[in-house]
């Protein structure tokens, strides 16, 4: 099984980068177009614009009116979606192999031909507001938003991807169209396709579709590095509910930095294994992780723990999240979490723990690699902050991590001065009346 081998990049004259990988296990092809734009490219007044723009990309072009386009993909039995993240925005279709041309045409067309009808902009305004309101219904959203605001005073990672309500209310059609023209162009995009095709034939078709498009302007760069934090931030968010939530977030290195992999192993020891699978493949539980064992099993301080270390272009956050046990004092829970971090700083982890973390990651890759949608996802995703070699070398990078590395990054990053501690305190018991 040649699941994770490097593949060459092909660059068209207009700057479009193409990654192709033939996989002939099922009559399917997954095609992705990635744009190097996300919430990191947004300043106050325009927060949420990248995500709203993603919605507008489903509103149609002259060639493919909106309602017709959705039907074309669905009629063929394809799956499609789009995602806006901190650093990127992506669109994908996974199709029966003999129908892939429809997806290729649609994506090439909407790279430059979306119309941004003013009426549709208005009706989508309330849809993106509704998406945010739906998220607001979950207490963890408020905690997450407050932590981001506290962590990033300067950098655009400080606002949520969905944007602030005031900006969603005030931005207009021209703002969206300008954003589109600035960032949606071949020179700012990557196409990644995996599945049941002949590489030469597919490349020829991609050239037909894309080579005629102008390269596009140099996209504006928002470059506002976050200065080092000076002292621990602590915050509290109050709202309805009965359950106390806690999050501890540390400023963390970007994915391309060498400390990223030791931190991934550290996270695996603390909160359990994470994979890179976006589409199925399933996960592995974290019941034997250090934090779960101590906080959930041994001391009844939490009912669940989880961790996340997203791969980003700029330094972002390593976060640990707790659902605090109903009978526990949140401060005691946070002290126990500190105790486990202290243990990592004081005592070298065993080689066996590291090997186990690597085996878990290998298994997650095996599960996820069975989906060609995941395969094509990995190929483009990694190009957004590093390169595909970051994925193909992922297991080696993890296996190269030593106990000393883990201890070193624990001592360097997991210190109070570098973190934000947030607690969600429910102030009522909800209203159960009808």
């Amino acid at each position: 099984m040649t699941m994770l081998e490097p593949i060459p990049s092909i660059r068209l004259k207009n700057g479009l980068e193409i990654k192709l990988k033939e996989i002939h296990t099922a009559p399917l092809i997954s095609s992705w177009v990635w744009y190097r734009v996300g919430s990191r490219d947004e300043l106050p007044g325009k927060t949420g614009i990248s995500h709203w723009l993603e919605h507008m990309q489903f509103k149609g072009t002259e060639k493919f009116p909106a309602e017709e386009r959705d039907k074309i993909i669905a009629r063929a039995g394809g799956a499609w979606n789009a995602f806006t993240y901190l650093d990127w925005t992506t669109y994908f279709e996974t199709m029966p192999a003999d129908k892939i041309d429809l997806a290729l045409e649609i994506e090439a067309d909407r790279m430059t031909n979306s119309t941004f009808d003013p009426e549709e902009v208005e009706s989508e305004r309330t849809v993106v507001m509704s998406e945010r309101q739906g998220r607001e219904n979950n207490p963890s959203f408020w905690l997450m938003e407050a932590i981001h605001q506290a962590a990033f005073r300067i950098h655009s990672y400080g606002h949520v991807i969905l944007g602030d309500m005031v900006d969603l209310a005030t931005m207009g059609r021209d703002d969206l169209y300008q954003h589109y023209q600035s960032y949606y162009s071949p020179s700012n995009a990557v196409v990644s396709i995996a599945g049941d095709f002949d590489q030469e034939e597919l490349l020829k078709r991609l050239k037909e579709l894309y080579e005629g498009l102008p390269s596009g302007p140099e996209p504006p760069q928002v470059n506002r590095p976050e200065p080092p934090q000076r002292g621990e931030h602590r915050l509290m968010v109050e709202g309805p509910g009965d359950t106390v939530l806690a999050e501890v977030s540390y400023h963390a290195p970007p994915a391309s930095q060498e400390d990223f992999f030791p931190l991934l192993i550290l996270d695996s020891l603390l909160s359990g294994p994470q994979g890179l699978n976006m589409f199925g493949g399933g996960g592995i539980s974290n019941k034997t992780s250090r934090l779960y064992t101590r906080m959930v099993e041994d001391e009844d301080l939490a009912v669940s723990v989880s961790g996340s270390l997203p791969a980003t272009i700029d330094p972002y956050l390593y976060s640990l999240n707790l659902i605090v046990h109903p009978d526990a004092d949140p401060e005691r829970a946070l002290q126990a979490l500190d105790g486990e971090i202290q243990r990592l700083q004081d005592t070298l982890p065993g080689e066996d723990e590291l090997q186990r973390a690597a085996k878990q990651t290998r298994a997650l890759f095996a599960y996820g690699g069975e989906s060609i949608t995941n395969q094509a996802f990995w190929m483009g995703f990694s190009e957004m902050f590093a390169s595909y070699e970051w994925v193909t070398g992922y297991l080696d990078s993890l296996e190269a991590v030593t106990p000393d590395d883990v201890q070193r990054v624990a001592r360097q990053y997991l210190v109070p001065q570098n973190r934000i501690v947030g607690v969600y305190l429910p102030h009522n018991k909800g209203n159960k009346g009808s």
Binding site: K99, S130, E136, N137, G281, S371, N431
Partner: protein, 431 residues
């Protein structure tokens, strides 16, 4: 835009009698295996007759609680040992009950299948329900219920079941209520397991990099000698009569930005002859493309909601046929009007020939994608076994879908979706 020509499915590449092994063990368990040597892993799934319909009314959540406690320790392994084995292999295993059955599922690298089956056998046959562990699970379940009470989508769902299934066994939530979870004793869990966990009518599906004979032999070795003479017959649930008139209920959840809507009727059973016409009709109503006609009306044209879609969840019993949407509280009545208008239109006249052709192509075309992964195939095999569709179900699937008519869709939909007898449940800030 011209309509696409369709290429018929290559039926020989779909799982079927030529590559599915089906064996009935002496103890009443059915094993299905489909090899896939393109993969490195194994997907395992199945069910046994231990769903929440067996919960006593004052101990709702008992089936859930039992399933969640199975992995807290067995006669030979502690919780820590169980999970250490599992997580060290990079494998997963879990049990989650539905109304009729408790489903289980797992995943491992191919070499670890014997260990995974060993663990499955151990937790199903030999759980010990240690008291301290039961209390830990209880805290987790109660916290889950606290979170549920803050989840407007879940609260609207619960409200729908109360209205649409009044007097029917489906009216109760499988995760119970705080007071019923608190009422459950360790002995209740022990008794529930002793009575309901057994090999009669159990189904195990294994898909992945394993020879079928070996997989069957492994199941026999780990679970073949299990027996339980106390197992009752599977529960049959009655029909749920339609409401006399549209009934609306609002559940207040304070401090929320959005109100969730769940609206609909009690739908058909999975084995009803009109099920497939209803399924295709449902897709036209609220799924196809960007959430069908309802998505077009509520999201695309009116901008009222990020999600607005319909679902048909038929099962052994009469499952719900619903529309769900999340809207700003001030738009609630408008959204309800639009959704009801779409339902009214949907049962007033047949869908268009284009709509039917589109949805037929969709159902046929997406089959290879749903069968791409081992777990996708396992899920298809499980459905085939549960509803006795036959091992050649997928071979006849395209023909079955393509012969559905507009009239059949109208007839099936009219039989259930009565726009004057809807259960309308909403949850969010006060009205």
């Amino acid at each position: 835009m011209s309509k696409q020509e369709f290429t018929p499915l290559k039926t020989e590449s779909l799982p079927g009698p030529h590559d599915i092994t089906r064996v009935e063990l002496e103890n009443g368990t059915t094993v299905l295996v489909r090899p896939n040597f393109n993969s490195l892993s194994i997907a395992l799934s199945g069910y046994l007759q231990a769903g929440s319909l067996y919960d006593p009314e004052d101990k709702l959540g008992l089936a859930d609680f039992t399933a969640d406690t199975l992995m807290r320790g067995t006669t030979t392994r502690s919780f820590q040992e169980l999970y250490d084995s599992l997580e060290s292999m990079g494998a997963s295993l879990g049990v989650s009950p539905g109304a009729h059955t408790a489903g289980f599922g797992g995943k491992s690298l191919a070499d670890d299948l014997p260990s995974l089956l060993d663990l499955l056998g151990d937790i199903l046959i030999n759980p010990v329900f240690p008291e301290a562990d039961v209390e830990k699970v209880r805290s987790q379940l109660l916290t889950g219920l606290d979170l549920r009470s803050q989840d407007t989508g879940e609260m609207a769902d619960l409200g729908f079941d109360q209205i649409a299934y009044a007097g029917h066994p489906y009216r109760f939530p499988s995760d119970g209520y705080p007071e019923t979870i608190r009422a459950i004793q360790v002995q209740d869990l022990v008794d529930f397991h002793a009575k309901h966990y057994g090999p009669q009518e159990m189904v195990i599906v294994i898909v992945g990099a394993v020879e079928p004979d070996r997989a069957v032999a492994l199941v026999k070795e780990k679970l073949g000698s299990w027996s339980n003479p106390n197992q009752p017959e599977p529960i049959q649930v009655p029909e749920a009569p339609p409401l006399e008139k549209t009934t609306r209920q609002h559940q207040i959840v304070e401090g929320k930005s959005q109100t969730d809507i769940v609206l609909g009727v009690v739908g058909p059973r999975r084995n009803w002859e009109g099920f497939y016409p209803a399924l295709l009709g449902n897709s036209i109503l609220g799924q196809f493309g960007m959430m069908g006609r309802i998505g077009e009306s509520v999201r695309n044209k009116s901008g009222l909601a990020y999600y607005a879609y319909s679902s048909l969840s038929s099962s052994v019993g009469p499952g719900p046929w619903t529309v769900a949407a999340g809207v700003a509280p001030e738009n609630l009545d408008r959204a309800l009007d639009l959704i009801q208008e779409e339902i009214r239109k949907f049962v007033a006249e047949p869908v268009s020939p284009e709509e039917l052709a589109d949805v037929q192509s969709n159902y046929v075309g997406k089959l290879p994608l749903t069968l791409e992964s081992n777990s996708g195939v396992a899920s298809a095999l499980l459905t085939m076994e549960r509803y006795q569709l036959g091992l050649d179900y997928l071979q006849g699937y395209e023909q079955m879908i393509r012969k559905i008519t507009r009239e059949a869709i109208l007839e099936a939909s009219r039989q259930y979706l009565d726009p004057d007898r809807l259960a309308i449940s909403t949850a969010g800030p006060p009205l």
